[in-house]
Symmetry: C2
């Protein structure tokens, strides 16, 4: 039985989503979910104050009674608690699996920077609301329970990471940023204009070290603009990869949708053995 | 007579705005405007292709018949042409005044990095469309003609720069970024959610060298969100300044409005003497 602790480093989780995911977990005999009450707190933009979200993360991470930590929602705010969260992690916290994406990439990146635990990019609890959300939740539970299914299909013997494009861009140069030298870097984006996506790829490619290459996940829910950008997402990433000498490796099955596959940070085989 | 060349490194200029600004210039005896035809070109998001915008910039910058270069519009795209633009500048180009803000901050920053010309943050040609736009245009023309009026009122004997917050964030770590050690850094933003402003200040404060301090310009046209952020712009910048040990110096009269005052990069007195 894998005991999974759930907290919300950014946005609040709607209680009905927790109930729906609890029902799915109850249908399995390999996982047990523990929702930290902080998941449902409310403080302006966030699921509780920085102090409350930070404390809830450590309640989940540091308790040896939990085997894994699952993030409830993205939103925004995990960067505000990540430095203290990292500094407060104990020995038990440094062995666990951590799963999330979108804004929680700040925490995943910081964990990876410090070699703490086994961070992976994959579905959040709140993804139950999406079309096909149940499959995404089952995929997340499989990985949290130690199974090897549901991995992003292009994963090979290269160390790999995956991030939301904006999250990666904002993390670059910060105290949270891991060293991605030699890595395959997968990125996805949601609800950004294509000109903003272009600008983000400028920033990201200018700030990456020598990486093995970039892969492009879904670029979804692009808002209508007053004029069309004039290039599709894949043309944008090819343009900036060519300018910066970064190999473009093709698409990746990550994104803000139910098809979001699991990307364990580092070598996928190593993560399997965790 | 100051001969001012105008090009559009990002977004296209509407011809009626050029006409309105030409009328204002015609009412003065100290300036002569030369609109490059590229200002009115159209290619997807941009005022012409990268090649066309780059060539137009150099037409304006390198021609010894022009005394100053004024940017027509912001939008997005000056980062795509800035490296080639800088590399192509001749001796005449390196003596001129360059005026703009918003997306053209990428070019202003790159000019400042290389010590080329006298870049300043201030009104664009397209600001004629704003309420009070005529005053903004007169202020820009005054500075381009070598007058000392219209400067941001807090300017003292500290080297200073001013940028759109997103532009500065995207420029950090790139080949365009100037060294801001010891500078007063003024930032403004438009049409971004407050959570995005918070995230940008995280990135910017984490990536600045030891600066003299930050000043906050206008944070305007903040879109409605599904929940209020819980902090006002000045609280946000104070929070991140305190976290990063950067002195917060108060407000600045810059922004996406007609009150946008002139900030010559470097020491204002030096710029006066240009």
């Amino acid at each position: 039985m894998t005991r999974i602790a759930i907290c919300a480093p950014g946005k609040r989780l709607e209680p009905e989503r927790a109930e729906a995911v609890s029902k799915i977990a109850a249908s399995r005999d390999d996982v047990e979910l523990h929702f930290h009450p902080q998941c449902f707190a409310n403080d302006g933009h966030f699921a509780g104050s920085d102090a409350m979200r930070f404390a809830a993360f450590l309640d989940c991470a540091n308790d040896p009674g939990f085997d894994a930590v699952w993030f409830a929602m993205g939103g925004y705010g995990s960067n505000r608690i990540a430095p203290d969260a990292i500094a407060g992690m104990n020995a038990a916290a440094k062995k666990k699996r951590y799963l999330g994406y979108s804004d929680t990439g700040f925490l995943l990146g910081a964990l990876y920077r410090h070699g703490f635990g086994h961070p992976a990019h994959g579905p959040l609890v709140g993804d139950i609301r999406r079309e096909g959300g149940e499959a995404a939740i089952m995929r997340a539970l499989d990985w949290l329970a130690g199974k090897h299914d549901g991995l992003e299909p292009s994963l090979r013997n290269h160390p790999t990471v995956a991030f939301n494009l904006m999250t990666l861009a904002m993390m670059q140069g910060s105290e949270l940023m891991p060293d991605l030298t030699g890595h395959v870097v997968m990125v996805e984006e949601v609800a950004e204009h294509l000109y903003a996506v272009d600008r983000l790829f400028f920033h990201v490619t200018q700030n990456l070290p020598e990486v093995a290459g970039l892969r492009l996940g879904a670029i979804s829910e692009v808002p209508e603009n007053d004029r069309s950008f004039g290039a599709e997402p894949e043309q944008i990433v090819r343009f900036w990869c060519e300018r910066s000498g970064i190999p473009y490796l093709g698409r990746a099955q990550i994104g803000h949708d139910a098809n979001n596959r699991i990307v364990p940070f580092g070598l996928a085989d190593t993560a399997h053995g965790a």
